[in-house]
């Protein structure tokens, strides 16, 4: 079985977000980049499937410039066999999906996170599925292979759905599909020599243009209310905040 895991290279979840150049660029100063947390779940499940299905290979793919390579190497250290970096800025969902689709043919399972935590569109898996004519399912909390079929649990509003589809297929993953894996020393050493192929992007006409970024309006100061004056809080929620 051949598994492709698409990973994003995103600011750590604890990052404070600021912008520079007239709010047109992320200020990366002091920001640590990681494998997207949802992509990390996809990778962990792929490694589990590799361990339980002999002969399985796991390839990681990232659409990004050269600075994403340490993130890709981390995925190799976690247990992927080889990697592809498509040398382009991941500008929008359709652009990224088009690049992935170009390299995703021939894989039985194409896994990724339910969404990247930078742009949060949450649709690359659906678009890749559509571009390749494959089923796509997201967000997947459980994924098991039974012959040529894949059984999945998909989270829906206030509950879940059991879904079945045939391979090849695309899945957007989230917890608790697998536990995140932490690379060990042997993994880190072997990752340095695992193949990382760099390819140029295909040409895609941009359908979206970024105008500018914006930060949320700052919050006013908190109004503290004594613990024995909850009626006062209720009055404020009703008359001042007007939310009751």
């Amino acid at each position: 079985m051949k598994i492709l895991v698409c990973i994003s290279h995103v600011p750590d979840t604890t990052s404070r977000i600021n912008f520079i150049d007239n709010n047109t660029r992320l200020d990366t100063n002091g920001v640590q980049f990681i494998i997207g947390p949802y992509d990390d779940y996809a990778l962990a499940r792929a490694i589990e499937l590799k361990e339980s299905n002999p002969g399985t290979t796991v390839t990681v793919l990232n659409v990004g410039p050269a600075e994403t390579e340490p993130t890709i190497r981390k995925a190799l250290a976690i247990g992927a066999d080889d990697a592809i970096r498509i040398n382009a800025e991941p500008t929008d969902s359709f652009f990224v999906a088009s690049q992935i689709a170009e390299h995703a043919k021939g894989y039985d399972l194409i896994l990724m996170g339910r969404e990247s935590i930078d742009y949060n569109s949450g649709v690359v898996h659906a678009m890749v599925g559509d571009l390749l004519g494959l089923p796509s399912v997201s967000p997947v909390m459980k994924l098991d292979i039974e012959g040529t079929k894949v059984k999945m649990t998909r989270e829906i509003e206030g509950g879940k759905e059991q879904v079945e589809a045939s391979m090849p297929l695309v899945a957007g993953c989230q917890e608790p599909i697998a536990e995140w894996k932490i690379p060990n020393m042997r993994g880190i050493m072997s990752a340095k020599t695992k193949p990382l192929k760099v390819v140029e992007p295909i040409s895609v006409t941009a359908s979206i243009a970024l105008s500018n970024f914006e930060l949320p309006a700052p919050k006013g100061a908190v109004k503290m209310i004594p613990a024995d004056a909850v009626a006062d809080l209720v009055a404020k929620l009703k008359n001042e905040a007007k939310v009751l």
């Binding site: 571009l131 879940k160 500018n212 914006e214």
Partner: protein
């Protein structure tokens, strides 16, 4: 028998007012095969409807069903696509939309350049109002093929009777400060009184005190209610990312140094087991 009115299911009533128009026509695709909500089939129906109606813009509300449907329609029709849209488009120069990004930590304005556009609105980004429309309902037939049913929904489990967290107007959330799942009764009572949904922090969901679908935060559910009441949650940046679109935040915590107070509108320093029942009683008295 449940009939699937796809506009009704996908385009929630809030959209009408939000795009400042009441739709003139409702297409009713009443194919029994559509009842289960297979994403590919919905995408095919809507793609065909856009072509038949010469529609340039498709508006949907973000959900586990509508977001992937929207993405597939965008691919099939060659449309520019944006999800998590939080405001009315700015059409003064081009067609610009404001999107929530970095999990609620920021926004971006982007121009949708293609003639066709598909936008999915972030939950609770627009108020629900009823516009007295007089649309005609037209039965709508689309010949669906096996390829439209490339996934099979075997079963669905849904909590019944509860207010759905992602769409709730009021959310009552508990954290580690609740000390154990057996103490959730006071939060549930408060939530019931307010007609609110219940949520929780990541540690609470990780420890299985509460189900995963109640986890509010950067890697869980992002909420945008009118009122968010956080009890015993310290306010890690990942949790704040999931709640900072709330209109009003109330924080109850016994630790006066809890970082959540800095992100709150109202705060009470006190013991949850003392404050929450009193708050429930005060709300019952006031409403």
């Amino acid at each position: 028998m449940l009939r699937l009115l796809y506009w009704a299911r996908l385009m929630r009533p809030r959209c009408n007012n939000w795009v400042n128009m009441v739709h003139q026509k409702v297409l009713h695709a009443a194919d029994a095969k559509l009842e289960k909500g297979v994403i590919q089939a919905y995408a095919s129906v809507i793609t065909k409807a856009m072509a038949d109606e010469n529609a340039e813009i498709l508006v949907l509300a973000n959900s586990s069903l509508a977001t992937p449907v929207a993405a597939k329609v965008a691919v099939k029709t060659g449309a520019s696509f944006a999800s998590n849209v939080t405001e009315l488009p700015d059409t003064t120069a081009g067609f610009k939309v404001k999107r929530s990004i970095y999990t609620g930590k920021a926004f971006c304005w982007q121009e949708l350049k293609n003639t066709k556009k598909v936008i999915a609105i972030k939950k609770n980004a627009a108020e629900i109002t009823e516009g007295g429309g007089n649309a005609t309902v037209t039965p709508y037939q689309v010949a669906l093929t096996d390829a439209d049913f490339n996934t099979t929904i075997l079963s669905t489990e849904k909590a019944t009777g509860d207010v759905l967290l992602p769409e709730a107007e009021i959310v009552v959330s508990g954290g580690r400060g609740m000390k154990g799942p057996e103490h959730w009764g006071i939060l549930e009572e408060l939530a019931k009184t307010l007609g609110a949904a219940t949520g929780c922090s990541k540690p609470v969901s990780d420890m299985n005190w509460r189900p995963h679908h109640e986890h509010v935060g950067q890697t869980g559910i992002k909420v945008a209610p009118q009122l968010y009441i956080a009890v015993g949650i310290s306010g890690a940046i990942q949790h704040l990312a999931g709640v900072n679109s709330s209109k009003c935040i109330v924080v109850i915590n016994k630790d006066p140094e809890a970082p959540f107070f800095k992100a709150a509108d109202y705060g009470i320093v006190g013991d949850a087991f003392d404050v929450v029942p009193k708050l429930t009683a005060a709300i019952k008295a006031a409403l």
